[in-house]
Symmetry: C2
Subunit: 174 residues, 2 copies
Amino acid sequence: MQLVRLVRIVSSLPRLASFCSPFSSSAEGAARLLRVGDVLRESRRFSESDVVRYSEVSGDRNPVHLDDAFARTVAGFDGGRVVHGMLVASLFPSVIASHFPGAVYVSQTLTFKLPVYVGDEVLAEVQATYLRQYKNKYMSDTTVKFTTKCFRNEDSLVVEGEATTIISTLSLSK
Amino acid sequence: MQLVRLVRIVSSLPRLASFCSPFSSSAEGAARLLRVGDVLRESRRFSESDVVRYSEVSGDRNPVHLDDAFARTVAGFDGGRVVHGMLVASLFPSVIASHFPGAVYVSQTLTFKLPVYVGDEVLAEVQATYLRQYKNKYMSDTTVKFTTKCFRNEDSLVVEGEATTIISTLSLSK
């Protein structure tokens, strides 16, 4: 992380998406192809409303997400209601798709290391670790693997894993 | 799957949740503890509205989920708009929490093998493969691992993986 140099930031509060490269010397604004080592980021603060809406659409009504007293006294979460881990993890395909519309998800591993509480600032980071292009006369796609991490309130690693995707164009369009 | 004997079904259309055991001879309605081999199920049909609502709350606006023409002609999905894989996978914590309120997710692996299209019938199955209890004078919890699978339209395996959870009481409450 210390080696990463900021190339460009696209900000749209309350969400912040950015793209960083440890290698590139491209001029600001110049589109280029994704390379191993590139980092894509997005930050988000999940509200009570987000958690309720996610519960409704996913059907996951676990009281650790919806009942503050239950979360604290029964489940032992000091910070109260916990954001669904799968909602936090949705930041990974979200940040990838925001840079590569049409990206197809192949796999994702997730380890939930610490809880994310309602209102916490969450920073999702995905870093390209592997690219392999395959093409025929009809199409050209690239398998791209990313390490996937979420940090809470700027320091604590809360979710980590790896994603594998298929991307048709590696042009970083934003 | 052929060996699984139905013990009890709780139905609440449009979602169907059930619990099956390959071992139990318990009488209908009698609560008992989860055991290795037990299968929990839930079925769901994701609507266009579900996909739009999930896009809004997750921020994942990949056009393969929202734009039928893009999904068909650019991304090559014959069935049109694809349900977000992470929304399909949310059935796993959902079915676990519906039987074990307060269950805490530790990890999940996911391989997305085939697309799920808007309107497809999806059956999620989680099967307990490992239980290890640990307790002290204050608490007693059990680490439970599940294989996690989703089937589309009764036969095609669309998502598979493994989940690790911490559950405080193994009583199958429904």
